[in-house]
Symmetry: C2
């Protein structure tokens, strides 16, 4: 196998996050399930935007956040995702490149505008998301470069891609290219509601094609319709090479072929906004794997990155993760 050019190539919905603090009543009035992600259409997106004040726009997207995390640790990362050639699309491309991630997907010249995700942060630091997928659903097979996938140690895919038939084809092309070239496939279940929508597909995909699975407690119990975390843990065992299961304040549990690691959450300060915690956990974890660390250390790097991102608004790291990692590994 050729020397890898990238440690991690992320493929996902290219989204700009619109962050805003709201009270619990705001969610109740609009029937938005707290902690979940709802898909909304253009009309609802406009109406919601009209109801919001003091918003902050920051580049987001689950897999994009993850590869930014990999780059923040010093890993080599790339990203594939579709924006439109509009203001938010320009912002997205500028931010991800500034973070050190290779990003060459051609922006759409027409069609819907760049995707945005309204991240509604309640006083308990929980986030509830409403996503208008816009241009991101037009990610096409032609946007996936087989050579780029062949040159990445790990290709990291979002469950969210399953929501757009066109993007799903791009997803399948990336999986085939990784398989053909002996590269690893990492996958995040993305969201418990996403798992509900595609349970059978996801179960099959995890068992047949996924090498490294990321899921939080709600997602993995949903995947196997399990009554408890431990039941889900037993169910996933043997389905993939590694399953990294995150549990918020309870830390994470990593299930390897022959070993299980129980890793504590990493606290760096008061929790401000949990957006991106799972994305950054995956970023730290995959960086650790690329460096050849054992699963326990990968988990600690994931916890570290998640611990950093929840201490501030926004889903991308602001502190010096390289320095933190050096301290952790000392």
């Amino acid at each position: 196998m050729e020397q890898a050019k990238l440690d991690v190539l992320g493929i996902g919905n290219a989204i700009v996050d619109v962050l805003v603090r709201v009270g619990d009543g705001f969610l109740v009035q609009r029937d938005l399930p707290k902690g979940g992600m709802s898909l909304i259409d253009a009309e609802r997106a406009l109406a919601l935007h009209g109801d919001l004040e003091e918003t902050t726009e920051v580049s987001g997207g689950s897999a994009a956040n993850t590869v930014v995390g990999v780059a923040a640790f010093g890993g080599r990362a790339g990203y594939v995702g579709k924006v439109k050639a509009d203001h938010l699309g320009t912002v997205f491309a500028r931010d991800i490149r500034a973070a050190g991630v290779a990003f060459d997907t051609r922006p759409a010249a027409d069609g819907p505008p760049t995707a945005r995700c309204f991240v509604l942060v309640t006083p308990d630091a929980q986030r509830t998301m409403c996503t208008f997928l816009g241009a991101s659903v037009n990610l096409a097979e032609s946007d996936v470069d087989e050579k780029q996938v062949a040159g990445a140690r790990v290709t990291y895919l979002e469950g969210y891609l399953w929501d757009a038939p066109q993007a799903r084809k791009a997803f399948a092309k990336a999986v085939a290219a990784a398989r053909k070239n002996g590269r690893k496939i990492a996958f995040t279940l993305s969201d418990p509601f996403c798992v509900d929508r595609y349970r059978a597909d996801f179960q099959r995909f995890v068992k047949e094609d996924v090498d490294i699975l990321f899921a939080n407690e709600a997602e993995i119990t949903s995947l196997y319709a399990a009554a408890s975390f431990d039941e889900a843990l037993q169910a996933v065992k043997g389905h993939c090479e590694v399953a990294a299961l995150t549990r918020s304040a309870k830390g994470s549990v990593i299930v390897g072929r022959g070993d299980v690691h129980v890793i504590d959450a990493h606290t760096l300060g008061p929790i401000v906004d949990t957006t991106g915690a799972g994305d950054l956990y995956a970023g730290g974890f995959l960086y650790g794997l690329a460096q050849g660390h054992g699963l326990g250390v990968c988990g600690r790097l994931g916890s570290l990155a998640a611990g950093e991102v929840i201490t501030h608004l926004g889903a991308r790291p602001v502190a010096d993760l390289k320095a933190y990692a050096a301290e952790l590994l000392r």
Copy 2:
């Protein structure tokens, strides 16, 4: 092998607990490390007793609490431990028999009085213990009946027994009898300070003779001088058939030969006094094993028993554990 007469035979220091609520300052003034167990002599025991008001005397002893837990679930339990023929000794024997545990160790006619443990409960529901071992250290080889050990599926031993040279011989006799008769040996590390005192002995014993190990996080990390819980988890793997590691509010992790279970804590109400949580966890767990349940269910029964005992003062169950277990297993 003959049909077992007992599910669990506990051997330990027979102690009456003297419970009292104190402020944090009480511990600081007397240089008592919070959460630990200090051994005190007769003189200090008398002085401490003089400083305490509104005490409650209840039968305790770590292994005794565990076998009372087994009996509360409906299991067949026995106990071996030394009291003196004095008032507290009579209380101890009456209580453990009333709980349905076979207890036939002959009380000492002379020598030091029945052991007592001052359980100092601070406002955070933590308990700090000062133990005067009294008569319990005179448990002798002759008090262990080989036939009784041979007739018990599991013989459960306290690390605390190591503190008394005489009791240590009784311990060794029980281990030899269990080994000879193909029975299981369960062992609790008892206390992080106890592990500090006998680290090398305990490591060897765990590896060579223990089938079922119980330890909390502080104890297991102390045993292997590990920097994190996960490091201790990896170290204990393969050393015994089962290691059940308790983590207070974080639940427990059970390491079997080929599987690892991650079990949540069981909440039944506000936490009043954590005394006996580890003892009752072991009781529920061993009851589950005797019933032939898998390790995940054993862990849930352990969590249930621990969850019950921390909702009230005292280290023995007051609620109907049989009914709770029936609900859990439904």
